[in-house]
């Protein structure tokens, strides 16, 4: 409605920007999506490649219990990653939001700097930290906490550490924005009313930061659901995740139609979760 009114009543540039925006989205988002959907309905040729015989078979294969297990595991990992990111990011984001202006810039830059290095290199760095003769084990043994090195690399834990590390800033930044909007006076008011630290957090900070948690949650959850470099490098290729499965279908099994169907399954799952989340948060709104 609003967009309609804007487009008809106001100045030319608005119309132009709308047209260019829809052109851009159509060309670089919608069209590729349609192409992938088309491929997902085709058949695999003998040596990979695509044979244009329409079939639902690829989507039936997505419903295979084997794929279900992989979906479930990926959802679990992505969910846990999101929760841990939120817990770790909140105190950091709070300090950042309440810091003085110059400090804020310095701290934000510090959060960002590691992420200007290639993601692959940073993931490899974790291999060096976590392996048997790596930095962490060596340190723990030198300090006398351990006798034998702990098997850290190529476990579920190492994949998990890699995911949390990789996506943490996606949670920090939206939280900083959300917390900055909460007036410090509200905190003071809570304390004036004899709220304990915990009560203030539960009744003031947490509910008011919800938009930050939601935005950050989406930004962390979706990429960790489809992550493939981290499970591959830090998981030792032992447990297949959705990202690794899709990558395998495209590059190893060369079954593009099935890989495309899996991608759509992944997208569908994300949309469904988004829809459910929307309903629950709308439902809670009046309170």
């Amino acid at each position: 409605m609003l967009i309609n009114r804007l487009a008809t009543s106001s100045a030319f540039p608005v119309k132009l920007s709308l047209v260019s925006a829809s052109l851009f989205l159509g060309l670089f988002f919608f069209l590729p999506l349609v192409l992938v959907f088309g491929v997902s309905l085709a058949s695999r040729g003998m040596y990979g490649g695509i044979t244009w015989i329409a079939t639902w078979e690829n989507y039936q294969r997505v419903l295979d219990p084997l794929v279900g297990v992989i979906f479930f595991r990926s959802l679990l990992f992505a969910g846990l990653t999101t929760v841990v990111c939120a817990v770790v990011a909140f105190p950091l984001a709070y300090c950042l939001a309440r810091a003085s202006r110059p400090w804020q810039l310095i701290l934000l830059t510090l959060v960002m700097i590691p992420f200007w290095t290639n993601f692959l290199v940073r993931t490899y760095a974790w291999v060096l930290i976590l392996r048997a003769d790596g930095i962490l084990n060596t340190l723990l043994i030198r300090l006398g906490f351990l006798e034998e090195p702990l098997p850290l690399l190529f476990t579920d834990v190492s994949v998990f550490v890699g995911l949390v590390y990789g996506y943490l800033p996606f949670m920090v930044l939206p939280l900083v924005v959300a917390i900055e909007r909460i007036s410090p006076q509200l905190e003071d008011a809570a304390f004036d009313l004899y709220a304990s630290m915990g009560a203030m957090f539960r009744h003031v900070l947490l509910p008011l930061s919800t938009p930050g948690f939601l935005a950050g949650g989406v930004l962390v959850f979706i990429p960790s659901l489809g992550a493939f470099i981290t499970p591959y490098l830090l998981g030792g290729g032992q447990k297949m995740m959705l990202g690794t499965l899709i990558q395998q279908e495209f590059l190893v099994a060369r079954d593009w139609p099935f890989g495309s169907a899996l991608s759509f399954g992944l997208m569908g799952t994300v949309l469904l979760l988004w829809f459910l989340l929307g309903r629950t948060s709308v439902g809670k709104d009046p309170s």
């Binding site: 934000l108 960002m112 290639n118 930044l173 060369r254």
Partner: protein
């Protein structure tokens, strides 16, 4: 602040997207340019630089890490690559799919210098599409400090004594081939029953496995993270230089022999130059330098005698001649690849 955060987030997302993009250089250049698509550990800068200098051309190198990746990329069509390096069975597939140009052997006289066991291979007996370049075996790399009894069979990779300190290649055909051989089948079995049995065998092994990796096994051995590794010879030979107690063993079941081949893509617009490059890579002096640097055996039979004894006699580089007849080549299994794909996914889900 809000705006700053938004900008930073955009940067982050953009950074995330570019993580797997490879740099591609523009095609515009004065000098003719040859695009060479090869394995990630196959390039010696000096060898490429000399070709560039003597021919007055530019060589752009791009790399892949598996045959399947090579095929997937070439199948998309307009890749722009001229010379590619598929392994034996993949050269056969690519030839049959019409992706490779027919070679003009007049322009590649060094085809006469091939090792005798590489002269007539089933996938391309007359070198219509492909010429062997480097070859080797898959076997067992191990740390002799810990594994005191040299492994003689693939079964060593099922030894519970070394639980959690064993790695396997992350390659479905190699891993299933190994399991099939221990069960007495051919590594090219197309029998679903045999593949199921192999899967059961691998499932039983999985609790002992530290990692499935085709890129890191040599580093894992050197770091002591694993003590037994299903491995290709070349990286093990390189690891021996870093760690003297690393050894290589070929299993009595036969093991696997492979050769990576030089081929020209049918879509190449530099066919002449591409064949010249292939001939150059097979030249005795160039091949000698390549083998010394990369520690892979050269397909040029004259190279073997000129290599230092420690390379020539290293079974990770040159398997003993008497082993050759027992070794198996990986072959295209056609439709049966579906059974392998399925079993591999099942193995990785557990």
């Amino acid at each position: 602040m809000m705006r700053l955060c938004a900008v930073l987030l955009t940067l982050l997302v953009a950074g995330g997207c570019s993580e797997s993009s490879t740099s591609s250089e523009s095609h515009s250049s004065q000098r003719p340019t040859l695009y060479y698509f090869t394995w990630s550990d196959y390039v010696d800068a000096a060898v490429v630089a000399e070709f560039e200098a003597t021919r007055g051309v530019r060589v752009v190198v791009d790399t892949f890490s598996s045959n399947e990746e090579l095929l997937a990329k070439v199948q998309t069509g307009m890749t722009g690559y001229d010379v590619v390096v598929p392994s034996d069975f993949m050269a056969g597939i690519m030839g049959r799919l019409g992706l490779l140009a027919e070679l003009d052997l007049e322009k590649i006289p060094h085809v006469q210098d091939l090792e005798s066991h590489l002269q007539q291979l089933a996938f391309d007996p007359t070198h219509r599409f492909a010429i062997p370049y480097l070859w080797g075996t898959a076997g067992i790399g191990y740390n002799a400090d810990v594994v005191t009894e040299p492994p003689t069979s693939w079964e060593a990779l099922w030894d519970p004594q070394f639980s959690g300190r064993i790695s396997m290649l992350n390659d479905e055909r190699e891993v299933f081939g190994l399991a099939l051989q221990t069960l007495g089948y051919s590594l090219n079995s197309v029998d679903p029953q045999a593949i199921q049995e192999a899967k059961q065998k691998l499932m039983a092994q999985k609790p002992l496995i530290k990692a499935y990796t085709s890129e890191q096994f040599d580093q894992l051995l050197v770091a002591g993270e694993v003590v037994l590794a299903h491995a290709w010879g070349g990286p093990i030979a390189r690891a021996m230089r870093e760690h003297p107690s690393i050894r290589y063993a070929l299993p009595q079941e036969g093991g696997m022999i492979w050769t990576d081949c030089l081929a020209v893509l049918a879509s190449s617009r530099q066919q002449e130059l591409a064949m010249d490059f292939i001939n150059y890579l097979l030249d005795e002096e160039v091949a000698l330098l390549t083998s010394q640097r990369l520690l892979f055996a050269s397909a040029n039979r004259h190279v073997r005698d000129r290599l230092p004894a420690d390379i020539r006699n290293n079974i990770a580089v040159y398997p003993p001649n008497e082993m050759l007849p027992r070794m198996e080549w990986l072959e295209d299994v056609q439709e049966a690849i579906r059974y392998y794909d399925r079993a591999w996914t099942e193995l990785k889900v557990q």
